[in-house]
């Protein structure tokens, strides 16, 4: 089965995010009020072929642990969608 995967990589809670705080400061300067807790991450999209959804998730989790994230500072959220 083929799936479309999106891996969202975010800095862990408590890890300083200089990009996020810079954007947050800029929102205020631009007159957008009420915006807070800005965090910047990345989104990695790809297609994956695996026996089933469980197996696909397992492979992607392994990929995240070994390569797509740095577990010292980052977390990953995996989204999967089956392709017809």
């Amino acid at each position: 089965m083929q799936f479309e995967a999106t891996v969202e990589v975010q800095l862990k809670a408590g890890i300083a995010d200089p990009q996020g705080s810079t954007i947050e400061n800029a929102t205020l300067k631009l007159g957008f009020n009420g915006i807070e807790n800005v965090r910047v991450g990345k989104s990695i999209r790809f297609a994956i072929t695996a026996d089933d959804e469980v197996k696909a998730k397992e492979i992607i989790q392994d990929l995240c642990d070994k390569f797509l994230t740095n577990p010292v500072i980052e977390n990953a959220t995996i989204h999967l969608q089956g392709v017809e």
Binding site: P18, Q19, T22, F67, V72, I73
Partner: protein, 222 residues
């Protein structure tokens, strides 16, 4: 006989010639090692130089750590031989798990390229054995992601085990504990963000990198 220092070159490394020149000027032999080779040849010590290995894609060091040469560096480090990561090389060593922690974007989001003042915190490492504890060194930094980050437990461990080698006098990038350089528990793998190879000649404005690289060369003779 003077030792041979192997300098690993990745696509995107850009400080390999500086490292080669610096260690040669201090009496060592040196050679470049292309990242695609498992063979470290006759190297007695290894330097992973600065630059942007593999374009820093994904994260600095994230792709470089899987290069064939790194597999050999792993075994080399485990056997107790000296390994030094400078700037991008430090990032590669943390990604490879040879050194703890990670290097994050500088607080303030500025790319830093300037001389900074460092303090020697311990002489017990392959990089600082010829320095004096408490001494000040003026050495340039040149990085965007040099903000040393780790868990509180790791920081405590580094402090308790005397593994923080160099700290910034005036922290330029937000590093935890003002950390500029650390070593592993065995003290043979060292990483630092400043560039000692760029401070090895009076014409470059400082020779404070010399005692660090001399320490490293001497440790590779043992």
């Amino acid at each position: 006989m003077s030792p041979t220092i192997g300098v690993i070159v990745f696509p995107g490394s850009n400080c390999e010639q500086d490292a080669l020149e610096a260690v040669t000027s201090l009496g060592a032999k040196s050679k470049l090692i292309w990242h695609d080779s498992f063979d470290l040849g006759s190297a007695d010590a290894v330097i992973i130089p600065g630059g942007f290995a593999h374009g820093d894609y994904l994260r600095p060091g994230a792709i470089a750590r899987f290069s064939p040469a790194m597999e050999s560096v792993f075994a080399f480090a485990r056997s107790g031989r000296p390994v030094l990561g400078i700037c991008n090389g430090f990032q590669v060593l943390t990604e490879a798990g040879l050194l703890p922690g990670a290097l994050q974007k500088n607080s303030g989001l500025k790319f830093l390229c300037k001389p900074v003042n460092l303090t020697v915190r311990t002489t017990n490492s392959v990089l600082t054995s010829q320095t004096v504890k408490g001494d000040g060194l003026r050495i340039p930094v040149n990085h965007f992601e040099g903000n040393y980050t780790c868990t509180e437990e790791t920081l405590e461990e580094l402090q308790d085990e005397d593994r923080i080698l160099l700290t910034y006098e005036d922290n330029p990038n937000g590093s935890m504990g003002d950390i500029a350089g650390i070593c592993n528990a065995e003290r043979n793998v060292v990483g630092l963000m400043p560039h000692p190879e760029r401070a090895c000649h009076p014409l470059l404005g400082s020779t404070d990198g010399q005692p660090l690289l001399k320490s490293f060369i001497e440790s590779s003779e043992l």
